[in-house]
Amino acid sequence: MHEEWSSNILLNDPMRMYRAKRDAARRRVTDKYTIQGFISSGTYGRVYKAQSKESDGRIHAIKKFKPDKEGDVVTYTGISQSAIREIALNREISHENVVALKEVILEDKSIYMVFEYAEHDFLQVIHHHSQSRTAVPMPVLKSLTYQLLNGLLYLHDAHIIHRDLKPANILITAGGVVKIGDLGLARLTYQPLQPLFMGDKVVVTIWYRAPELLLGAKHYNKAVDVWAVGCVMAELVSLRPIFKGEEAKLDAKKNVPFQKDQMLKIIEVLGTPDERDWVGLKDLPEYQSLKRLDAYRNRLGEWCQSRINSKEGFELLRQLFAYDPDNRLTAKEGLQHKWFQEEPKPTLNAFASLATTQGYPQRRITHDDAPSMIPLPTANSQAQQLAAQAQAAHLSQQLSTHPQSGKAGSAGAASFASLSGGAAGVGSGHARKKTRLG
């Protein structure tokens, strides 16, 4: 009789004992953290602000990956590639200028990544200055750019390409330390088993996407991140994206179209690329599409004149925007640039030069949503969705003056709009669902 019972277990659910043991041993998120409020949401899920129940009472940002649903029932469908990436990479890295992962908690079909908390981000700083019609002070600008390059150098030395650098993904602690966040699109490039383009057809949010990607290059490298740094630096300077193109949509067969408008925005400032400056330009798939565009001359100098009051600042930007990826500065060369050696020098605390009254506002969180971090019973899930939608709308209104606001929420973590988002999201009042290949 005994035998029969055990055979049944072994036949029907051979892992039952194992799971029971594991579940009993597991400490839940809410055992360890007090959720203080909701920060932002995106394709991946949502980010919460939480305080540790340990004696240090430290503040964290907890990123909860969306549990998969089949209808209303939450079920296991496999951990997404981007979650696996972000977890795998974050477990291996540690650097002052990269957001630190404290722990990962797997519970009730959801994955929670517990990160160190950062009070600000680049997008919020840009937003603050554009609302108050002030420029980002030179010492702050330089420190933020320097620390960004410093974090990027670490990632690149570890053979990691970030592939989604943009203001919303670059955080700053209250102490003025830059933290590169969101490695959900990042990849280890050391001895890849297959070429990078095989995995993800589209990488980097359109406004920050390097020209070689726009021209369809199959092989790209760390230089795509450096281009994005150039875009971010320019955005800190002018408080709006320097190349703010309209994203062309994928066609029905999910072919990636030539991003004509984005390319045009780039050449309007940097001039039409010349085969003599860019070896290999002719061989890129979209070379003919590029030739069909009107020709422009380089106006970056004029662009900088009214915005960066520094010859070396312009020089750095010019070199970050080198068309040929092989001629583009590396993160290391960027750090060694003369601009960082002339006064004012970059500081460890990017806000060191600011008066105490000048600081940036704290990250906004909403409190009413906190309970929904714990999955509600199935019957309530519709209400939960409604609440989430209302909140997303609320959030995007808050940020509606920034062109990105229609996309994937604001600060704190990812917003992946590489495929469907882009400028199309501008002005739409609702956070829309985004999809991503890969």
Partner: protein
């Protein structure tokens, strides 16, 4: 850094010693007649991972990662408490993602069902969500450490040649991809060892074979790679001839510099010993790597012990392995070529359980699957009944573990 082995999760959290391995099997060992049956299980499961991997068209490195995940999982769990077959499938599924070559969960489920049913396993679930559920628990037990280092990388860094055609097409990509992008993460020497095509291939296969044992949990990958190179050089006829010739000449022992100045030759010329001006000083090259050669000798002994065990394993179909060559080569070739004679450290795996005597019996998959079923039934019976006087430990361990984890 994700590419610096020394600070990696692999090195800092997942290198264990023999005592930890014994502890991991402490419960299982109550349920087997002979401790070496556990070694056969380790061999069998790794073989299944490789087969499932091949069916899913996974590359060798992905299969290796899946195997390491499996071994790590069973550092914390017992065979008798779990269903190794779903764990195998989950390991392949996660490894494919971790190595950026994902496969669809549907394919994993259907290929796993097909493969395991050939062994009479009918319990593998047809429902994708059961595999996804296992993935979830697996990632948790792996503590989210999903970046694994492998000896292949060291082998290629040390021995890779452009235009090398020794490794099959499927693996050629692994040899070439990103090789110039990499840095050596250990070692003092520069330059490369120019191996015969056959010897390089053999080293590759020896590395594949090491995953059938638990070596990947005990030794850092670069040491396993050096051991594989060393063994391949000792087994491979032509290479061995070269080494023996060189050992007649006193200047050949000039040291690490021996290999540095050598210009790269095409694979065609290296295959013919007659055309080569002067063979590279292999002994000097290995010495110049500045690794613990005593440890290398120990690993070599463990690999030989694995092959001895493997010889008694009978499965339908042929398995590609370096064993055949090993058997062909004169007995004692390995130990004879060891630069430092007997190793001072440890004993090979077969001696581990204190059974020096040889068991000539042949072990088959059917036997192991029956054994596993009996283990699981006996275990369940023990857990549900009052703890029997003979095995109170088993239940207490459970409690202890749960407490430790909590």
């Amino acid at each position: 850094m994700a590419t610096d082995f020394w600070v990696s999760s692999h090195n800092t959290r997942w290198n264990v010693d023999r005592a930890a391995l014994r502890q991991a099997r402490a419960e299982d060992i109550h349920y087997v007649d002979h401790p070496e049956h556990l070694d056969f299980l380790a061999l069998f499961f790794a073989g299944l991972i490789a087969r499932l991997g091949k069916k899913l068209s996974l590359r060798q490195r992905v299969i290796a990662t899946a195997t390491v995940f499996f071994r790590r999982f069973y550092l914390k769990n017992s065979y008798c408490d779990t269903d190794p077959f779903i764990v195998i499938a989950a390991c392949c599924y996660v490894a494919a993602k971790a190595e950026e070559s994902p496969v669809h969960i549907k394919n994993v489920v259907s290929e796993a069902r097909g493969l395991f049913s050939k062994y009479g396993i009918k319990t593998f679930p047809s429902d994708n969500s059961k595999l996804a559920e296992m993935e979830f628990y697996l990632v948790d037990d792996l503590e989210c450490d999903l970046t694994v280092f492998h000896p292949y990388r060291t082998l290629m860094t040390l021995c890779w040649k452009e235009g090398s055609d020794s490794i099959s097409d499927a693996e050629a990509g692994e040899l070439g991809a990103g090789i110039d992008n990499g840095q050596r993460y250990w070692g003092t020497g520069e330059g490369r060892l120019e191996m015969h095509e056959g010897a390089l291939q053999m080293a590759w296969f020896i590395i594949n074979d090491t995953y059938r044992s638990e070596l990947c949990l005990i030794y850092p990958p670069h040491l396993i790679a050096v051991t594989a190179i060393y063994m391949a050089c000792a087994i491979h006829q032509e290479t061995r001839g070269d080494v023996e010739k060189q050992s007649q000449l006193p200047h050949a022992f000039g040291g690490a510099q021996g290999g540095m100045g050598t210009t790269r030759r095409s694979s065609r010329t290296t295959t013919s010993p007659l055309k080569r001006a002067q063979p590279q000083d292999i002994v000097g090259f290995l010495a110049g790597l500045n690794v613990n050669m005593a440890l290398v000798a120990t690993i070599a002994q463990e690999i030989v012990a694995l092959y001895a065990l493997w010889d008694r394993w009978k499965e339908d179909g042929t398995v590609d392995s370096a064993r055949a060559s090993l058997k062909r080569s004169a007995s004692g070739a390995i130990m004879g070529a060891t630069p430092m004679g007997n190793s001072p450290i440890g004993t090979p795996a077969t001696g581990d359980h204190g059974h020096g005597d040889q068991h000539p019996e042949i072990v088959t998959p059917a036997f192991l699957i029956q054994l596993l079923w009996r283990m699981r039934e006996a275990r369940l019976a023990d857990l549900s009944a009052h703890p029997t006087p003979g095995r109170p430990v088993v239940v207490n361990k459970m409690l202890e573990r749960a407490q430790a984890a909590g």
